[in-house]
């Protein structure tokens, strides 16, 4: 393409650098802001000499090894489970119309904030929860809830369940997005057919032919899931054990402890968290290599069928249980939000009342507005940045470097507990006292990767002949961008915007920390209430938390239709 040198082109050229800088500086800066106190440098407490005191205190913490073990095991097991279930569901329903239906059922779960999902799951499995009421007293004989260990069990089973249920839809949708790529999907399906024509049963054909090629496309999402699970706060807080808790929760507790010298230990803990996540990612990478080696032998061993039918039936049963438990926990939330008195083991509340919704709706307005302001601002900025970056990529006709594409995912891979505290410190240093700007900026860090992920494939798949055609008609690159590309990409842009909103709505730590605790959003209120007394109020907030992103997606679905209607009229 012939180089043009108008302002638009020049501005566009800068955008990839800007995008990368926007992501790298806060993450690296935040890490430095944690690194200094980790080595004993905290002038506010009069500590100006470097020491290893924080790390010593950390290692001597009672149950420290157990915390690390909990974080590592729950992350690895939940990621493995979510990945295995994703693969099994894909393999089992690869050529079935049910795949689309499962996708439609699980899709909305992707945008349910972690806190809301954890609340829903805890209501399901708690001793007085829905499952227990379903079987009591006629089967169990329980007149009072049993003294179960769920949730908050010592081994973190409920936490693993929560993480798995939350990550499974993400991985599944990422895999389906790969299939949705025009050539890849058709090719993999055809190869699957070819393998079956060689006598491989559908399951085996999927594992030996489709999976090795598919995995490349879901690898980064898998790593993001692993990193997230190892450092997440909301789910272990609501479902995990607390004697001791996971490392990430312990770090938050130390940071918030009234004993201010604990901040040294907390910072050391944040560094330990960083190393833990890195170790897990490396472990996964090693596992990949080993599995690949072993797998190659199995791929070429010419065996056609490994009890494919039995595994298929099992997968169907597990899928039904999965969907059922998701529906049950949603039903539970809805019932709690309308429940009057509801003694165990009654299956339904004694009466249904509106008071919880009424109370919540009279109090919710400021938090709701905050969620919307911040979400719209962060998503709009993210969309603009991503669009110009992708445009730059097309104008210079080569893709982003591997390093740049990797950096886009940096905020998803680096544990947020590790750099957010430092980022707060950094924002203080440059005297950025405007809480809203600080929060929008910190949300942007998490919104950007998802918006990029969502927009990149459709932007890159954009048929370049349209822009060449337009250019041949004498349109400048700016005009091609505004008048050809954007209108044609309205649908993916709207979806990316809705995704950005959903991600922003769900942010807990960045809102809490970078907003100096001054900004309440629906999510911060929901987490505070999750620790509070009322299941009923808590359910209302969790449901509102789920409804918000759902509304965003309805808008994303409607807007293109309205735009086209308007265009056709004009």
């Amino acid at each position: 393409m012939i180089k043009t040198h108008d302002t638009f082109t020049r501005l566009i050229k800068l955008s990839p650098t800007l995008l990368v800088a926007l992501l790298v500086i806060p993450v690296i800066g935040g890490l430095i802001g944690v690194l200094l106190p980790a080595f004993g440098y905290l002038p506010a407490l009069g500590m100006k000499e470097f020491s290893l005191q924080g790390f010593n205190a950390l290692i001597q913490t009672d149950g420290f090894s157990h915390m690390v073990f909990l974080s590592a095991s729950s992350a690895l097991i939940s990621t493995l489970l979510a990945l295995t279930m994703t693969i099994l569901i894909l393999a089992c329903f690869f050529n079935s119309p049910w795949l689309k239906r499962i996708q439609r059922l699980l899709g909305p779960i992707l945008v349910i904030p972690h806190a809301a999902a954890a609340i829903a799951i805890s209501f399901l499995i708690t001793p007085s929860g829905f499952i227990s009421r379903l079987f009591s007293p006629w089967l169990t004989g329980w007149e009072l809830p049993p003294d179960w260990l769920l949730p908050h069990d010592i081994l973190g089973v409920s936490m693993i369940l929560g993480l798995t249920l939350k990550e499974l839809p993400f991985l599944l949708l990422m895999a389906l997005a790969a299939f949705a790529q025009a050539d890849l999907g058709a090719k993999l399906r055809a190869q699957h057919k070819v393998a079956m024509s060689f006598g491989y049963c559908p399951m085996t054909a999927f594992f030996k032919v489709v999976l090795p090629n598919l995995y490349t496309y879901i690898r980064l999402p898998v790593l993001a899931v692993l990193a997230y699970a190892s450092a997440s706060v909301e789910i272990p807080l609501i479902l995990g054990p607390n004697a001791p808790p996971t490392l990430s929760v312990a770090i938050i507790n130390w940071f918030n402890d009234i004993d201010l010298t604990l901040r040294i230990k907390a910072s050391a803990g944040a560094i330990a968290q960083l190393m833990l996540t890195a170790t897990l990612l490396i472990t996964w990478w090693l596992l990949e290599i080993i599995v690949k080696r072993v797998f190659y032998f199995y791929v070429t061993n010419r065996k056609r069928d490994y009890a494919g039918n039995a595994i298929m039936h099992l997968t169907r049963i597990v899928t039904v249980m999965l969907v059922a438990s998701i529906l049950l926990s949603l039903l539970g939330l809805v019932l709690w939000s309308f429940a009057g008195f509801w003694r165990f083991p009654a299956f339904l509340p004694d009466q249904l009342v509106l008071i919880h919704w009424q109370n919540a709706l009279t109090n919710i307005q400021p938090a709701l507005l905050n969620s919307l302001y911040i979400g719209f601002a962060a998503s709009a900025i993210a969309i603009i940045l991503v669009l110009v970056t992708l445009e730059a990529e097309q104008q210079r006709a080569y893709a982003l470097s591997h390093l740049s594409s990797f950096i886009i995912y940096l905020p998803l891979l680096v544990p947020s507990v590790a750099f957010l505290f430092g980022l707060v410190w950094l924002q203080e240093q440059i005297s950025s006292h405007h809480a809203y700007i600080n929060v929008i900026f910190s949300h942007l860090l998490f919104v950007l990767p998802y918006v990029f992920l969502s927009l990149a494939s459709s932007y890159r798949c954009f048929d370049s002949r349209f822009s060449i055609l337009a250019a041949s008609l004498g349109k400048s690159p700016a005009k091609v961008f505004w008048q050809v590309k954007l209108p044609m990409l309205v649908t993916p842009i709207c979806i990316a915007f809705a995704l950005g909103l959903a991600i922003s709505f769900s942010q807990y730590l960045p809102t809490l920390l970078n907003g100096a605790g001054q900004i309440n959003t629906i999510t911060t209120e929901a987490v505070v209430l999750a620790s509070g007394a009322s299941r009923r109020t808590s359910s209302v907030y969790a449901l509102i938390q789920m409804l918000l992103p759902a509304l965003a997606f309805v808008l994303a679905w409607l807007t293109p239709k309205l735009v086209y209607k308007y265009q056709n009229k004009a």
Binding site: A190, C201, P202, V209, P212, V299, T300, K303
Partner: protein, 216 residues
């Protein structure tokens, strides 16, 4: 015993309108060509033959392979080989791996060793360890053919097998494919929109749009 593929009184409906009807018998070494514009039901017929008819269609009729009724046999147990316009080699396996993958479980060690020999026969000697992506289009097509043949199918379906090859290569690959099908005495059905393919196949030709049949 002669090998044969028999389509007995087949009718396929979509939403209660009949899409196509067929009653054919193909002997080993014979190639039946199916022609017709898109939408005439070519790929639907192929889907029925492979046992993967989408649920929006209904079919009546039977399919016999070597006198055995396989109408309700799942795809992977039919022993019907497939050859598409794309070679569809598995990118995560080498040339040799692709072929070994297709060979029956009980292949003898000697058969595996013969892969090299077979490759040489179709002019691909010495390419065993190469990855499919590094081969030319014509080479890939030949590996795909070899892969199908060595999977020991009892019949073979060709879905626009040569449409992506340029005209010179097309003739060369076509000759090899047809020669091998005849040499292995396999009944074959070829779907194509290219008349010269159909003529080169030297078998019966059915046009699904006009339902006109030309005998070889």
């Amino acid at each position: 015993m002669y090998s044969s593929l028999d389509i007995k009184e087949l009718t396929i409906w979509r939403n209660k309108t009949a899409l196509l009807s067929l009653n054919e018998s193909i002997q080993g070494g014979e190639i039946l060509s199916i022609m017709g514009p898109s939408g005439s039901g070519k790929s639907t017929l192929l889907n029925w033959l492979t046992g993967m008819l989408p649920p929006t269609f209904t079919a009546h009729g039977n399919l016999y392979l070597n006198q055995q009724n396989i109408t309700h046999t799942p795809c992977h147990l039919r022993h019907i080989g497939l050859l598409y316009q794309d070679p569809l080699l598995f990118p995560h396996l080498s040339v040799e791996g692709n072929i070994a993958f297709a060979m029956p479980k009980l292949s003898k060690k000697k058969d595996l060793e013969n892969v090299s020999l077979a490759l040489e026969k179709v002019g691909l000697g010495g390419l065993e360890k190469r990855s499919p992506a590094s081969l030319s289009g014509g080479q890939q097509a030949r590996v795909a053919l070899l892969r199908v043949l060595l999977s020991k199918p009892k019949a073979i379906l060709l879905d626009e097998p040569f449409s992506k090859l340029d005209s010179e290569l097309r003739q060369e690959v076509r000759d090899i494919v047809f020669k091998q099908i005849r040499a292995h005495q396999l009944p074959a059905i070829m779907v194509t929109h290219d008349h010269s393919d159909a003529i080169a196949a030297r078998g019966n030709i059915i046009n699904l749009a006009t339902l006109e049949k030309r005998y070889a």
